[in-house]
């Protein structure tokens, strides 16, 4: 029955995928949504049984392969961590499935889209429920494939196709680290199953790993390699370039994959491997720094973006920074808590934006929106719910999960923790700022889109608004409801063995009784941010333009997304292509071929020509040759006799 959870979406995707030609959109929708609803019901009941009755098990479906001492099996490890993730994935995925019935109904190949969505859900569930690194990697790349297919769904749009490839490649760079991490684990631990790895960690502590004859402390090396994998998947600073471009895909895709589930896979992996990360201080420090830096970077860039979905994408990137930051501080449960709440309010924001774009039949640029407050009241209201929980206003879920992370940053009393606390708070202010800017620019002011679109603007159909409502409820309630389970006193027996925290990493426990001002500061900053947002965009609308002119270099720097794209293009793409051409023509043709086959053949031909002249056809030349022969032979004979 537990096994049904991942297999249901797989069957749905296979059935719809194979017969997508002959199957009507309605039938495809029905099958996928039905299967997903069943799966999510199962997932929720599993979550409740795990959370309440402490149910824990590992089911082995089938052996994958055994080579020497390495034996890997298809298995499902059900514990708190995986059941939480399975629940989130199933719920959000079902809502997105239902939502896309409305959003995509005028799309020609809807069955194909639904098949890809279910395929994605299967891979995500496989990843989450893996009990060994290889099956996790199977889910990891499967999810990457699904995101490639979904981003490039509208493949007639060249930019979408390119974005798909870019997403896959950047993920692949992350997987490069992940694979090497797996290899290193196999070398050090001789096995890839989590239980065995965590059991053997103590006696592998001192070991060294020699790469390029540099000596690394094994555990740190493995953790850093795995973190590179997580960076690729969770779009941390450096490997984040694919996330904004991923907005080329349809909005439900962005909501499901690039907000709630796939991007959080990295954070999930970090929490799952907590048993390993806890033993390497340097790794944890680097993770915290990266998380804080990503949070700040993404927030700063989001302010200047004009595309609605890109703003939300950067906000996801920033929230992911927070989660990774929490992991670095070994406050894994806080990270998971924020992951859960973020899944709800970010999916809400995306789907609301989706219904906005749907209404404006595809318009994504905020500069050409506005005045929709009266036309789409429900979406406007839900948008506010999302914005407020994103900004971290008390009732809404964002407040609880983000604050606990900032408090644990303060409570860790390490330099890295302080830096994280500082950057975290600045980004809180920035987040509140761009969130309000976003809602004002898209809903307030006067409508800036063409007249003919006016009559077509309508409140989204029920198929789209119901999921929105459900998500809104989740966004609001998940905060205070799950607070004590995830991070409260009960968290100890809630997480049980799935998350391992070294006893001297007490950041999370101390966070509860951190000084008053530390708890209040984030709230104060978010309110200040919202006020600033109103100030700049509602009242003095000319202020942002003037500010932009004064701080021209900074504005330009932020607008260009810190020039990461340009840098990568120049540094990696162009150099790779020119190196490749140089290798192809230079080495392959000019050196290897010239020296090898072609070289030898030309030399042989030239030698042949020179020899040919010897056969002149004149008798006396030949006689002369004979004479010389005789003379030489004679000389030799005489020399013998002397």
């Amino acid at each position: 029955m537990i096994v049904a959870i991942p297999l249901l979406p797989l069957f749905a995707s296979i059935i719809v995928g194979l017969f997508s030609r002959r199957m009507g959109a309605a039938l495809a929708l029905f099958i996928t949504c039905l299967f997903m609803i069943i799966a999510s019901i199962l997932a929720i009941s599993l979550f409740l049984s795990v959370a309440l009755r402490g149910f824990e098990t590992t089911i082995t479906l089938a052996p994958w392969f055994t080579v020497g001492n390495l034996s890997i099996a298809w298995a499902m490890q059900v514990d708190t961590l995986s059941s939480v993730m399975m629940a989130i994935v199933c719920v959000v995925s079902t809502l997105v499935h239902i939502y896309s019935a409305g959003y995509m109904q005028d799309d020609a190949s809807l069955p194909r889209f639904m098949a890809y969505l279910s395929l994605f859900t299967f891979f995500m569930l496989a990843l989450v429920s893996a009990n060994n690194l290889l099956q996790m990697f199977f889910g990891w790349e499967g999810v990457g494939l699904a995101s490639y297919l979904l981003i490039g769904y509208w493949h007639h749009k060249d930019s979408a196709a390119r974005a798909g490839v870019k997403a896959f490649l950047v993920n692949r760079i992350g997987d490069f680290g992940f694979v090497l991490g797996i290899c290193a684990t196999y070398k050090m631990f001789g096995s890839l199953n989590f239980s065995e790895i965590f059991a053997m960690v103590p006696d592998v502590l001192g070991e060294e790993l020699v790469i390029f004859n540099w000596r690394f402390e094994a555990i740190t090396a493995i953790s850093l390699l795995l973190f590179v994998g997580a960076m690729g998947k969770s779009a941390q600073l450096g490997l984040h370039v694919w996330l904004p471009d991923a907005m080329e895909g349809p909005t439900p895709v962005s909501a499901l994959i690039h907000a709630a589930t796939m991007v959080t896979a990295g954070v999930f992996m970090l929490c799952r491997m907590s048993g390993l990360f806890e033993y390497s201080e340097t790794a944890l420090a680097t993770i915290t720094l990266f998380g804080a830096a990503t949070a700040f970077f993404a927030a700063s860039v989001a302010i200047t973006q004009n595309d609605l979905k890109r703003v939300i994408a950067y906000s996801t990137c920033s929230q992911l920074g927070y989660m990774v930051l929490a992991v670095g501080l070994s406050a894994y449960s806080a990270a998971m808590f924020h992951l859960t709440t973020h899944a709800f309010f970010k999916a809400l924001l995306f789907l609301a934006a989706g219904s906005l774009i749907h209404a404006l039949s595809g318009e994504q640029d905020m500069k050409r929106m506005g005045g929709l407050r009266s036309m789409m009241p429900l979406t406007y209201l839900l948008f506010w719910v999302g914005v407020l929980s994103l900004a971290g206003i008390p009732i809404f879920s964002g407040y609880y999960s983000k604050d606990i992370i900032l408090e644990s940053a303060w409570a860790s009393h390490t330099i890295v923790g302080q830096v994280a606390f500082l950057l975290g708070n600045i980004s809180v202010f920035l987040t509140a700022g761009y969130a309000t800017r976003m809602i004002i620019m898209s809903f307030h002011w006067l409508p800036r889109f063409e007249e003919k679109l006016m009559e077509r603007v309508h409140e989204s159909p029920p198929a789209m608004s119901i999921p929105l409502l459900l998500l809104a409820i989740g966004a609001i309630s998940s905060g205070f409801l799950l607070k004590d389970w995830f991070v409260g006193e009960g968290s100890g027996n809630f997480w049980r063995a799935s998350i391992f925290v070294e006893d001297y990493h007490t950041a999370l426990q101390d966070a509860h009784h951190s000084p008053r001002w530390v708890e209040v500061l984030p709230l104060f900053l978010s309110v200040l941010g919202i006020a600033a947002g109103f100030l700049c965009y509602q009242i003095f609308t000319s202020l942002p333009a003037r500010l932009a002119r004064i701080l021209r270099p900074i504005h330009q720097f932020l607008l260009e997304k810190w020039y990461f794209d340009k840098l990568y293009n120049l540094l990696f793409l162009r150099s790779a292509f020119s190196l490749a051409r140089a290798l192809w023509h230079g080495v392959d043709e000019k050196t290897i071929d010239a020296l090898g086959p072609d070289g030898i053949s030309t030399v042989a031909r030239r030698l042949g020509e020179r020899l040919r002249i010897m056969q002149s056809g004149y008798v006396y030349h030949y006689v002369f040759a004979i004479l010389i022969g005789v003379v030489v032979f004679g000389a030799f004979a005489i020399a013998q006799r002397l």
Binding site: V67, G68, L134, W140, E141, V165, L169, F176
Partner: protein
């Protein structure tokens, strides 16, 4: 029934078939049709035989099975002896499977001299199966060299514009390499006293001698695999060869190089293999990164896939010399998966070439509109070539990586880098050919016919099956790898 020489029938049945073809008389297209159908029937029956061999191959028995050995040139102790073990079984099955597919794939695309084409393929099949089954060094060399001839004709006669150049380059390149191998084989038989491989396996030679002999073998197999500096014949041979020719070239001939390492260098000259392992590692690392980079900028699809083969075989050679069970079985799996995947990719290019008569990437855009089924199948093979989990490519690559990392992490880094670049050029190719705004494509880009569909789907099934459940293959391969590790270990 048990003393029926199964292996010899598998080797010589296609040869018999080729002979049969010459007896056909009648008008031009009658001959063509008759030739094609008889060739198909012979290939199918041979494939059935190999499946029978696989079914009756029992895993518990150590060493070679179904061994037949008759004295051939008694004076110098050379015997015709053939036998199969875990390592060579799947290459034999792969050989017969690919031949069936090649005959089906070139059903309509080959028009001139169809009978000779089919005969060449049957001969190629029997020679290559012979090479995989030979247990006698001289017999192996005979088959190893013999394979060049039919391939030379296939490229030379039915190839593209520069086919003569490509055919000669292919032939001379490989021939030069294997002449050195002949020297090593002769000195091996001279010192070892016998040409029977199993005996040679447990006679140990002096270190200095091993190192010299190893070089002879290395050059020949390096040219055949192809390893980095000796690979320039492969792109030309592939670009000029007909579709079915490239399939056999990539599916079979490349495997002989790897198989050669596995049968000769590792078990018979273990200490030399250990000694030269760093050299092979660096060459394979270069091969993977170099070939992937060069594949990035290719304009001709077939050349791109040829370079990708070089990269995949770089994985194989690295795995072979990492001297642990995971790496070796990974290398064998990589060879089998590369055989299936690159064969499929070449068949796909053949499908495009039959329709648009060109292989330039620039000529195609937004193919997904006119040919959706083809696009889907091509996607599966592209992903398999990248080594996406769930496809056979992944099994080969991950096992090789796991094994190689234990021997030399640096090489594992290069191989993993190859994985990124691999995804790079394959998806770059896929996007340029299949996606993009719909352009005025030549109208004759009709979707897959039933025959092409059947061929490609019969390749998708094994690729996905091995990806999800490789245990049956690995359980046969791994037992036969342990002795090779053991000899190297002591």
């Amino acid at each position: 029934m048990d003393n029926w020489p199964l292996l010899s029938t598998i080797i010589f049945l296609p040869l018999l078939g080729a002979g049969l073809l010459t007896l056909i008389r009648g008008r031009e297209n009658d001959i063509a049709l008759a030739a094609k159908s008889t060739a198909l029937w012979v290939a199918l029956s041979n494939f059935a035989l190999t499946l029978g061999l696989w079914y009756s191959f029992d895993r518990q028995q150590e060493g070679f099975q179904f061994v037949e050995s008759k004295s051939w040139i008694a004076s110098s102790g050379i015997s015709y002896s053939v036998g199969v073990d875990g390592l060579s079984l799947f290459f034999v099955v792969l050989a017969s499977f690919l031949t069936v597919l090649c005959i089906l794939a070139s059903w309509r695309s080959i028009t001139k001299r169809v009978r000779d084409f089919m005969a060449a393929f049957l001969v190629l099949e029997s020679l290559s199966i012979g090479a995989f089954l030979a247990l006698d060094t001289i017999l192996f060399y005979l088959f190893f060299e013999g394979v060049l001839l039919p391939m030379f004709y296939i490229i030379g006669i039915w190839g593209g514009e520069r086919r003569i150049y490509a055919a000669f380059k292919f032939f001379l390149y490989t021939f030069l390499g294997s002449v050195l191998m002949l020297l090593s084989i002769i000195s091996l038989t001279w010192i070892g006293g016998t040409t029977y491989i199993p005996e040679l396996m447990n006679t140990d030679f002096s270190i200095g001698l091993q190192r010299v002999l190893w070089l002879g073998f290395f050059v020949s197999f390096a040219v055949k695999t192809p390893m980095w500096p000796f690979h320039t014949w492969l792109p030309d041979a592939h670009v000029e060869a007909p579709t079915a020719g490239s399939v056999m070239l990539a599916g079979l001939l490349l495997k002989m190089g790897g198989y050669g390492f596995l049968r000769f260098c590792l078990p018979i000259l273990p200490d030399a293999s250990q000694f030269y392992a760093p050299l092979v590692f660096s060459l394979s690392a270069i091969a993977v990164v170099y070939a992937s980079l060069v594949a990035l900028v290719q304009e001709d699809i077939k050349k791109l896939i040829a370079y990708s083969s070089v990269a995949h075989m770089g994985f194989v050679t690295a795995g072979l010399f990492a001297n642990n069970a995971t790496a070796l079985s990974g290398a064998v799996m990589q060879m089998i998966s590369h055989g299936l995947v690159s064969a499929a990719l070449f068949l796909c290019v053949g499908v495009l070439y039959d329709r648009a008569k060109t292989r330039e990437i620039k000529a195609f855009r937004a193919i997904v509109q006119p040919m959706p089924a083809y696009a889907r199948l091509m996607l599966v093979f592209t992903l398999a070539s990248i080594g996406l989990p769930g496809t056979s490519g992944f099994i080969g690559e991950i096992l090789t990586l796991l094994g190689v990392f234990q021997a030399s992490p640096a090489t594992a880094f290069a191989l993993a880098l190859g994985m990124i670049l691999g995804a790079g050029y394959m998806l770059h190719l896929y996007r340029r050919v299949f996606f993009g705004p719909p352009a005025a494509m030549p109208d004759k880009l009709y979707d897959l016919q039933t025959r092409e569909n059947f061929v490609l789907i019969s390749l998708v099934l094994p690729v996905v099956w091995i990806g999800l459940y490789p245990a049956p293959l690995l359980n046969i391969i791994t037992p036969d790898i342990l002795p090779i590790i053991a000899t190297a270990g002591h």
